[in-house]
């Protein structure tokens, strides 16, 4: 391929990228309809921090719990569910992890973002209790 053709292609890519970004911007403005937490007003970290880093907190905590028996609650998956998901007794439908309009806090955003979530293949998707 000649050099001018390559440049042309590059230009086309840039244009496409700009178009994608603009259309993407509109979708972000809509956002997922994430259900509000059932308990408390403040998460264990700030909201932007949790949005970006929750998976790191969870992964770190999972190793500490699984391998070393540290059972603190702050960054545990159980604690997430405790505040963010209704117990089975209240809302049995929230367990349906294949429902893209699910009111399950985790699944709602993950299906919007298209990031596969396999935590609940093994973990209980709803907290115990009433």
């Amino acid at each position: 391929m000649s050099l001018p053709t390559l440049h042309l292609l590059k230009g086309a890519h840039l244009l496409l990228l700009t178009l994608l970004l603009v259309s993407g911007g509109v979708a972000v403005a809509e956002g997922p309809s994430v259900p509000k937490a059932l308990k408390g007003e403040q998460c264990v970290e700030s909201v932007p921090n949790m949005r970006r880093n929750h998976m790191e907190y969870l992964k770190h905590h999972r190793v500490e719990t699984m391998r070393y028996g540290v059972r603190t609650e702050t960054y545990s998956l159980k604690k997430c569910l405790d505040c963010h998901v209704a117990p089975k007794a209240q809302n049995a439908a929230a367990t349906d992890m294949h429902d893209t309009n699910s009111q399950h806090f985790c699944n709602n955003c993950h299906s919007y973002a298209g990031v596969k979530l396999d935590c609940f293949d093994c973990h209980a998707a709803q907290p115990d209790g009433q």
């Binding site: 999972r62 500490e64 699984m66 028996g69 093994c122 973990h123 115990d128």
Partner: protein
């Protein structure tokens, strides 16, 4: 307090000083602290007193003693209790019975010569040298510092080498998608699992397991093998106990009495 007859050093240091200077006071204080702490230290080395933010240590070895003379033939209270606690046994609907998980099972043994019958629960023996850990290609199968052998499902690839390596046939493989798991016992398709010695209960400081609590005959005792004051350690030091397949040198955490 400063004149304890059994604390000669402190007495020698302080008996001449009616008014304690700071150094002597601290010295004496430290000695007393050691004394008052001494019984406490023994207590705190048991895992019951471990804080939830502290890691499990090898100062503790969780173990189980099963008295097969008390265990009744045909009784399966321990199995039912384990199923209720850990949520297995009812939600595998598509698997054949031979495929379904068995974290604990009852085994009946008969001596064909004498006719002597034994009934006992069989589960993961929580070996000190576990073969399942040796063979695991992903380190999913591991032994915790306090002697509990577990499967880390985050790492388990379902190869089932550990199932073949285990001489006690203690591990199961989940063949189908599961729902309604217990929040204290995550389990799912494609992973190997076994008795966890109710690790969530031990970590919470219960000091016992669901099967031990459920046994109305009191045939199952859970305790710390390294704590000389624990009921389990006392009984193991007093009575003859058996490790199943002791010839393999696995040093099992589950010991049997009366077989």
């Amino acid at each position: 307090m400063m004149n304890r007859p059994d604390d000669n050093q402190t007495t020698a240091n302080t008996s001449e000083l009616p008014l304690l200077d700071r150094r002597a006071f601290l010295k004496g204080g430290a000695a007393v602290a050691t004394f008052t702490l001494a019984p406490g230290i023994i207590l705190y080395t048991t895992a019951e007193a471990r804080n939830i933010d502290e890691r499990a240590t090898d100062k503790v070895r969780w173990a189980m003693l099963i008295d097969s003379t008390l265990c009744e033939q045909g009784c399966s209270e321990c199995v039912t209790a384990c199923q209720d606690e850990n949520g297995w046994g009812s939600n595998e609907i598509k698997s054949r019975p031979s495929q379904q998980a068995q974290w604990i099972r009852k085994v009946e043994l008969k001596n064909s010569e004498t006719g002597m019958l034994h009934s006992l629960p069989m589960m993961c023996q929580h070996c000190a040298n576990p073969p399942c850990v040796d063979v695991c290609p992903t380190t999913a199968s591991f032994k915790r510092a306090d002697g509990i052998v577990l499967v880390d499902r985050h790492l388990c690839i379902g190869c089932r080498f550990c199932m073949m390596a285990c001489p006690y046939k203690a591990r199961s493989f989940v063949h189908e998608t599961l729902t309604n798991q217990k929040s204290n016992a995550p389990r799912g398709k494609g992973c190997v699992e076994a008795c966890t010695l109710c690790v969530h209960k031990l970590d919470a400081g219960d000091g016992t397991t669901a099967c031990a609590q459920a046994c109305s005959k009191g045939a199952i005792l859970v305790g710390d093998l390294k704590d000389q004051n624990s009921e389990l350690a006392k009984r193991v030091s007093k009575y003859a106990t058996t490790q199943i397949r002791a010839d393999l040198g696995l040093n099992t955490g589950v010991r049997y009495q009366g077989i």
